[in-house]
């Protein structure tokens, strides 16, 4: 069998979904124990899957696969009966656990795994589309080697040999490995591979990670990613944290949000106040959505502290000092939020405790983003939320598996190195910087200066097109892995990723896709054959590694096989994590916020690149369900748009559907206008994720890519890209289109009918509800 094939049965998990309960019973009940050897007898599930599915991955007639009789089917392969296997969603790095429904050897549907404390059986739309990542028609199916301008399909053997040859005489300094966030055993192997060259050049890059917040949290609370107890809070004051949309762990927060709204403990409904310049999905759900002048979030936070002090809250000396100048009049003038509104918030915060203050990406995205985040965190401290609604999270006791958190600072470093021609070999995995790097970085040009570029890819994305060698990856639903989520909900956990079906693109003739772990293992064997010879493949490595730590992983009472099968069956290893104490230092040191910037006459508008929960940084744009899933706020599909406040639009003479040119210092894009009331009139917003020039048939040519016109402005403290610091102007091009959206011609009006109804909170009795 090829590496990465399924060697083990993963016991189906009983979830409440009808048909499989029968099956789960027959497998779990002692009288009918499952015989593992049975499974191996049929040469692995893969062979069975092919024979059963008959979907063109090789046929019985070819004599290449094994025939499995339906009459004598194994328990796990009864035609028309679904089985359910657990794994982990990799559509984003929130780490939700999923249960795949498999029938006749094909994975059909993904559901949330109810045992996960992160997602408790739920998924987001992006997670649902995981199957379209797996079955995507535009996946790369064989290693491709660049010859001139075209690619030539080669075998894996040849590809490996080529890498070995290229790596022969390079020093660690001359290697760069760019990757998205990685964790678990993959991170270990990756580290070991780079170690074998004594290279420290692992650049971890996530285009839209909350990197500034992490740094600010580290300073304010002593940990990068504390636990946010939305459900316990009575008031949530969120400065642009889109926790229902794309922020950190949206499915988890959505559940907390539902509890928060119901007031699960005392029937008192939580109040959400969202402060931002462009309405996010979370903003759309707020009781009060406050539009602030872009970049003044920190000022407003300090203003609220000041007003809290004035309203009788005791402030420590340094805090009082730090907020001294932020009286209501000034804050109101700077931020555009009325004094009256500030009073209301203050009253609310005083009346209802505990509260929770969140600093989201909207606040982070400025040159003074760290300051904004620090000011917002300070508000949390002043309100006494630290330790109540902001708690220390449990940490997985295997630091080597902890997630590497990605950021744009790393990309900048890599880019500088590339520009200087430092790298002879560059690897890229789970990142598409040619698409996501700000235009001002000229990343594509700099990339050309790298000697030999190896891109591990699912699709031929913009970066893969620049590669010398493209290595096709297994999809997440056919690969092995372990994952440690960065945001841990209530307990420490290691997520298991296991194949839900046989590989779609089989490894015949040395072609086909392979798992990243297998590839790394093969590459490591080129360097340290002795050390890794015991592991036939990544599966063996994983199994070995987990069994070695069986006791620490909670398996002290059972034998290896049982432990292993149970682990796979559950899909999650829940651990006694250790909790590091939160620091209670109030972070006033060095806190200084700039006054709001004057409006630039040439580029009067602030560009807010928005993050859509489905498309994120654009890596999943080739999944048609996501393209056709309307943006919740504008209901637009299959295209980009620029949101302009109606007042601004009237000023500029722009109407819906006008194609406008958005021009900044680093280029321009032409995009349809959408008049949107939920945005500051001095800002415009274009969603990220679309505007691909490659990737696949569902992504290429739809919309524009605002990454391309971003200015290279960085947060002063962390060096992170200030995503919201690009200034632009907007001009009409004269052409107009009909905006393709779900909303009808009357927009979001109910025309006097009772369709989506609402009640004021003093008129309902939530505690009496079911």
């Amino acid at each position: 069998m090829n590496s990465g094939s399924i060697k083990q049965l993963k016991k189906p998990l009983a979830i409440r979904l009808g048909e499989q309960t029968v099956l789960a019973k027959s497998l779990v009940m002692a009288e009918h124990p499952f015989d593992r050897r049975d499974f191996l007898k049929v040469l692995g599930w893969g062979g069975a899957a092919v024979a059963l599915s008959g979907c063109g991955n090789g046929s019985v007639e070819d004599g290449k696969e094994t025939v499995v009789s339906y009459v004598e089917t194994n328990d796990y392969m009864i035609p028309s009966i679904s089985v359910y296997f657990n794994s982990t969603c990799t559509q984003c790095d929130a780490g939700c656990s999923i249960t795949g429904r498999i029938r006749e050897g094909r994975v059909l549907k993904l559901e949330g795994n109810p045992d996960s404390t992160i997602n408790r059986g739920k998924t987001c739309g992006l997670g649902q589309a995981g199957v379209q990542h797996h079955y995507n028609p535009d996946r790369v199916r064989e290693p491709l080697l660049r010859t001139g301008d075209s690619g030539e399909a080669i075998t894996w053997e040849k590809a490996y040999a080529l890498i070995a040859e290229k790596m022969k005489d390079v020093s660690g300094e001359e290697i760069a490995f760019l990757s998205g966030g990685v964790s678990g055993h993959l991170k270990v192997l990756l580290g070991n591979y780079l170690d074998s060259f004594r290279s420290k050049n692992h650049f971890v890059y996530e285009a839209i990670a909350p990197a500034v917040m992490r740094a600010a949290n580290k300073k304010s609370y002593g940990v990068e990613m504390p636990r946010f107890n939305i459900s316990k809070a009575k008031v949530v004051l969120s400065f642009g944290a889109d926790f229902l949309g794309a922020w950190v762990s949206p499915v988890h927060f959505s559940q907390q949000y539902a509890q928060f709204r119901k007031g699960d403990e005392d029937g008192q409904r939580g109040v959400l106040v969202q402060i931002e310049s462009k309405m996010t999905l979370t903003g759309a759900n707020a009781d009060r959505w406050l539009v602030v002048r872009p970049g003044t979030e920190g000022i407003l936070a300090l203003g609220i502290i000041n007003a809290l002090g004035a309203a009788g809250l005791r402030l420590s000396g340094d805090v009082a000092g730090a907020v001294k100048g932020y009286d209501k009049a000034r804050v109101s003038k700077d931020t555009g939020v009325s004094a009256e509104q500030i009073d209301k918030i203050v009253a609310l915060l005083k009346a209802r405790t505990p509260s929770l203050v969140l600093a989201g990406s909207a606040a982070e995205g400025y040159a003074h983003g760290s300051q904004n985040a620090a000011a917002i965190n300070l508000l949390n401290q002043v309100l006494g939320n630290v330790g109540k609604t902001v708690e220390a999270a449990e940490v997985v006791p295997f630091p080597q598996m902890a997630p590497t958190t990605g950021n744009t600072a790393a990309l900048k470093k890599l880019n500088d190195g590339l520009a200087a021609g430092k790298y002879k070999v560059l690897f890229s995995y789970a990142a598409n910087p040619v698409f996501t790097a700000p235009g001002a970085m000229k990343f594509k040009d700099n990339l050309a200066k790298a000697g030999f570029k190896v891109v591990f890819a699912h699709y031929l994305d913009e970066t893969a097109l620049q590669a010398d060698l493209v290595l096709p990856l297994d999809s997440a639903l056919e690969d092995w892995g372990t994952q440690v989520p960065e945001y841990l909900a209530t307990c420490a956990q290691i997520n298991i990723q296991q194949p839900l079906m046989e590989k779609l693109h089989a490894n015949t003739d040395g072609k086909g896709t392979r798992g990243m772990g297998d590839i790394l293992l093969t590459l490591l064997k080129q360097r340290r054959a002795e050390e890794y010879k015991g592991f036939a493949d990544y599966y063996a490595y994983l199994r070995g590694a987990l069994l070695k730590n069986k006791v620490a992983l909670g398996g002290h009472k059972v034998d290896d096989d049982t432990f292993w099968n149970e682990t796979l069956s559950k899909g999650i290893i829940k651990l006694e994590g250790h909790v590091s104490a939160l620091s209670s230092r109030s972070g006033t040191a060095g806190l200084s916020l700039p006054s709001p910037a004057a409006i630039d006459a040439q580029y009067p508008l602030q560009l807010i690149p928005s993050v859509n929960a489905s498309l994120r940084d654009g890596r999943h744009t080739n999944q048609p369900w996501l393209q056709e899933s309307p943006d919740p706020l504008t209901t637009i599909v299959w295209d980009s748009w620029v949101e302009i406040h109606p007042r601004k639009a009237a000023e500029l003479g722009i109407e819906e559907g006008d194609i406008v040119e958005v021009t900044g210092k680093n280029g321009s894009v032409k995009v349809q206008a959408y008049l949107f009331p939920g945005i500051h009139p001095d800002a415009i917003s274009i969603p990220l994720g679309r505007g691909h020039e490659a990737l696949g048939r569902y992504a290429k040519g739809y919309g524009v890519n605002p990454f391309q016109i971003l200015d290279a402005v960085f947060d002063k403290e962390t060096g992170e890209l200030a995503l919201h610091e690009t200034r632009v102007k907007v001009s009409k091009t004269g052409s107009r289109v009909i905006v393709v959206k779900d909303e009808g011609p009357v927009g979001g009006r109910q025309m006097g009918k009772k369709i989506a109804a609402r009640l004021p909170s003093d008129k309902v009795k939530l505690s009496e509800e079911i």
Partner: protein, 460 residues
């Protein structure tokens, strides 16, 4: 002026009418070719739509109906012309109908045949159309007798078959004349078969009269019901702008209206083409015009009470639909329809236009334009402005495929009608003779009593 000259020789009548069956002029072929080309366009569109799917017609969810249904209603309406002239006026002993009822009956049949096509064209799965029939089947699956669409199918089918029968039966004496006056050839054979051995015996005439009268009596309630049922497609639904109590009479009035207008159009054409001035006389035209005007006023009245009922009723949704018709994207069509339907007919109010052929020709076309728009304005605005605002759909515009098929349907009708006129006598010879006879009898009577001179009439 009299409806017809009383001294036309019977042989002349035969000769004049049979002349219309002679080989046509070049222009006939040109027009026929155009009609065939139009049918060709429609067939092309339908084949395309059939293979690719109804999406090519540019419907949307929820705007699922469009020109097909509107034009279907239009053709059904058109079919009422024949019944009105033949059956109703026959029962009312209106002698002046005699020279013109034949082609009106033909119109009925052909417009029903055209309308029927739209039912098929409109379906998503026309190949399963027989599911709508209560045919015997092992699974005992019946159509849904609750659905007005099913009543529709049944009513139209009955109406069509009765109309064909009526047309045919009424033609038998004339077919015998054709048979007796034709040189040997296919025509002679055809008429021989179709004339069913008509000899004009007393017994035959007696039976013929009874049969014809019976079918006429049967046809009248059928005609009223068929358009009432088409109206039920809308009135029985729950949609704003559709569930209106007055729809059945309103639809019937509209049907008679468009039928009359079409009769004027074809009257003028046939009179000109076949030189039927002797039979299709201006006094007859005047009578049709007056009848049309009267029906126009009935229609206008029903239309206005519909607006008033919606306006003063408390169903806001219906009112919204009405307002949207007046001021929304359909406004140009809605206003045109009202002007064509209710203002233009006033031209016919003036005596000097009642026989003014060019004006009447234009007016009759405008009336039917109005009536076609009326159907579209019934169907479409409710879809683009129904109960559910989120799905309002104001930009819906039919694609060229829809227009092509609608256009082709006129070609199809023209084709059928032209072929009919060349194969069958489009003026009823025997009834015209009757009319001339009645006329001369009446004159004789007047002469005998000396009233003619005294009345000052008939001095021509």
């Amino acid at each position: 002026m009299n409806d017809i000259r009383e001294d036309i020789a019977w042989a002349k009548i035969n000769k004049d009418v049979l002349k219309s069956l002679e080989n046509p002029r070049k222009l006939f072929w040109v027009i026929l070719l155009i009609a065939i080309a139009a049918v060709g366009v429609a067939v092309g569109c339908e084949v395309y739509q059939y293979t690719v799917g109804l999406g090519v017609a540019n419907f949307s969810n929820p705007h699922v109906w469009g020109l097909y249904i509107a034009t279907f209603i239009f053709w059904i309406g058109m079919s009422h012309s024949g019944t009105l002239l033949s059956a109703i006026l026959h029962l009312m002993h209106a002698d002046w109908r005699k020279p013109i009822y034949r082609f009106a009956e033909a119109m009925t049949t052909f417009s029903l045949m055209t309308a029927g096509l739209f039912v098929a064209v409109h379906l998503g799965r026309v190949w399963q159309i027989y599911y709508a029939l209560p045919y015997p089947n092992g699974r005992q699956v019946w159509p849904n007798f609750q659905s007005p669409l099913l009543w529709d199918a049944m009513a139209i089918f009955t109406y069509l078959s009765s109309s064909i029968l009526f047309l045919y039966v009424g033609m038998i004496p004339d077919l015998a004349i054709c048979r007796d006056n034709m040189n040997p050839g296919w025509r002679r054979k055809l008429y021989t078969v179709l004339a069913l051995g008509w000899e004009g015996t007393d017994r035959q005439w007696r039976n013929f009269r009874v049969t014809y009268l019976t079918i006429a009596c049967f046809l009248i309630p059928l005609a009223v019901s068929v358009h009432s049922i088409v109206a039920s497609d809308f009135a029985m639904s729950q949609q704003p702008g559709w569930h209106i109590t007055s729809f059945p009479p309103y639809f019937v009035a509209g049907a008679l209206y468009s039928g009359c207008a079409a009769i004027i159009t074809l009257f003028i054409i046939l009179r000109y083409v076949f030189k039927f001035e002797e039979y299709m006389t201006l006094p007859i035209l005047k009578k049709i015009v007056r009848l049309t005007f009267a029906i126009a006023m009935v229609w206008t009245y029903l239309n206005l009470i519909e607006y008033a009922a919606v306006w003063y009723g408390h169903d806001q949704a219906s009112k919204d639909v009405l307002i949207q018709k007046m001021v929304g994207p359909y406004a140009p069509f809605w206003w045109t329809m009202n002007i064509c339907g209710s203002v233009v007919p006033f031209i016919m109010f003036f005596k000097r236009f009642q026989t003014h052929i060019p004006v009447l020709f234009a007016v009759s076309l405008l009336l039917n334009l109005g009536m076609w728009l009326e159907r579209w304005m019934i169907v479409a605005p409710t879809f683009s402005h129904g109960y559910y605002p989120w799905t309002w759909d104001h930009d819906q515009w039919p694609s060229l495929v829809q227009w092509g098929i609608v256009f082709g349907s006129f070609g199809w009708f023209t084709l059928l009608f032209m072929v009919f006129c060349k194969v069958f006598p489009s003026v009823s010879m025997y009834e015209v003779k009757e009319m001339v006879y009645h006329r001369s009898q009446a004159t004789k009577k007047l002469e005998a009593t000396g009233k003619l001179a005294a009345s000052g009439k008939g001095a021509h």
